[in-house]
């Protein structure tokens, strides 16, 4: 218990990094996932092919490899620099890799949501003169999102826990690495371990409850 109190500030600072990574990657992956699914259902064969290939490649690559590519490929080899400050740069490289990865799951969840929208509504949307992207934005996607709030919640929870593998991108500020680093000094401390696990649960459990509540509240009656 003493260990937990002693190292609490370091762990809290690390956990705050997990929270920040989650928030930024959450927003980015929702946007990118929406773009991906729009490509996959678009009438343009090239867009469909690009979307499908992207999802199949990235979704089936281990996250640690995606993050390693983000750091080694994008940053070191291709010379992508987002910030001159190394820790900020590292943060954004993780965000990039994590968002690129999570977006594929967001896109797949949304795609199953699109399948819940009756085809007739898409036809009706086209019949009043809406363009493809207007029907997608105004009719299809709003209903698709509402249908998959719960699975999207699961994707977000998985994404939050995935922030703990940031070390694969060489980014060492988040709490799981801080914990491991601490254990190297103190030996394994059960209180620290449980404390951190509880911190993650305090973050992720409400998401499960919130998405469940939203899903019931926003369900589309047919």
């Amino acid at each position: 218990m003493d260990d937990l109190i002693k190292y609490a500030p370091d762990l809290a600072a690390g956990f705050l990094v997990n929270v920040k990574l989650s928030l930024v990657s959450g927003v980015l992956s929702l946007i990118l996932g929406t773009i991906l699914v729009s490509m996959r259902v678009s009438p343009t064969p090239v867009l469909r092919a690009v979307g499908t290939t992207y999802v199949n490649v990235v979704r089936n690559t281990p996250l640690t490899l995606v993050l390693a590519f983000s750091a080694l490929g994008l940053s070191d080899t291709l010379g992508l620099t987002i910030s001159d400050e190394p820790s900020t740069n590292g943060f954004w490289l993780v965000v990039l890799g994590l968002s690129a990865y999570t977006a594929t799951f967001v896109g797949e969840a949304l795609r199953s949501g699109i399948n819940t929208v009756p085809l007739g509504q898409a036809e009706a949307a086209r019949a009043i003169g809406l363009t493809f992207f207007q029907s997608l934005r105004l009719i299809i996607l709003p209903q698709a999102f509402r249908a998959v709030i719960r699975p999207l919640g699961s994707v977000m929870i998985a994404m939050i826990k995935n922030t703990t593998v940031s070390v694969a991108a060489g980014y060492l500020a988040e709490s799981a690495f801080v914990m491991k680093d601490t254990f190297d000094d103190t030996g394994v401390s059960i209180p620290i371990f449980i404390g951190l696990a509880l911190a993650f649960m305090a973050f992720t459990l409400p998401i499960g409850f919130l998405t469940g509540w939203l899903a019931r509240r926003l369900a589309v009656a047919r």
């Binding site: 009756p118 009043i128 589309v220």
Partner: protein, 251 residues
């Protein structure tokens, strides 16, 4: 293409062919619909009636032939196709109202997003149209809260909100409970007497007799005969039509 005068047909199909795989659903269809004309398409299931209706606003593409609307060949895609569709109303068998939008929003969406009309103006007009089809009091509800007949009348109001040059009806009463058929037909008869150009796929012979100028009988992907409604129902020329009518009249 010459400038469309008031005497030229609004819709003209020439030698239109369409296949679904091996099934030849439209065989050399020639049909024109004049401005203000109400044409009822009748015939056995699977005869190509719905497909005929759907090729006119290009919800189905055609394999060969030519379709002109208001003097212009149907655009293949993109903004010009969207514009054409905004001028051709469509009412579906299964209503197809937007489930996540209120009744009023269903009616105002097209005018606001396609025509760029101000929301307030669109809502005022939307309420007038809902009044006309008799459901203004339901404007704030969602489609699932309405009966089938009410939903179909909303769908008609939604089509009318675009000020279409023509409305296509694809079996508008086939999915309705019997007691709700009349309220929808009444609205359609009202439209017909106001001079709306209509192509109606239906089995409602009462409607055909009251409102149609012409009956087109379709079977096996072909137009078998075209006549005035009374003549068609009392003295069908073809054996195919006679056979069809005997089956639906004796029950």
């Amino acid at each position: 293409m010459t400038e469309a005068g008031s005497s030229s047909p609004l819709v003209k199909l020439e030698a239109v062919n369409k296949h679904f795989g091996a099934l030849h659903v439209l065989k050399d269809i020639d049909l024109s619909v004049a401005r203000g004309e109400v044409v009822v398409v009748i015939g056995p299931s699977g005869g190509g009636k719905s497909t005929l209706c759907r090729v006119i606003n290009r919800l189905e593409t055609i394999d060969s032939g030519d379709i002109t609307f208001d003097g212009q060949t149907l655009p293949a895609e993109g903004k010009s196709l969207a514009k054409l569709r905004s001028e051709v109303g469509m009412v579906f068998q299964s209503f197809n109202l937007f489930s996540h939008k209120t009744i009023l929003e269903n009616v105002t969406l097209g005018p606001i997003k396609v025509r760029g009309i101000a929301r307030q103006q669109a809502e005022q007009r939307g309420l007038e149209l809902l009044e006309r089809v008799g459901i203004a009091s339901q404007a704030a509800k969602y489609p699932a809260q309405l009966s089938g007949g009410q939903q179909q009348r909303v769908a008609i109001a939604r089509a009318l909100a675009m000020d279409p040059k023509m409305i296509l009806f694809d079996e508008p009463t086939s999915a309705l409970d019997p007691e709700m058929v009349q309220e929808v037909l009444d609205v359609m008869v009202g439209l017909a007497s106001d001079g709306m150009t209509m192509l109606v796929v239906t089995h409602e012979m009462g409607f055909a007799r009251r409102a149609a100028h012409r009956v087109v009988f379709m079977a096996d992907g072909q137009i078998v005969e075209e006549s005035a409604p009374e003549a068609f129902f009392t003295q069908p020329k073809s054996d195919r039509a006679r056979d069809f009518l005997s089956k639906i009249l004796t029950h």
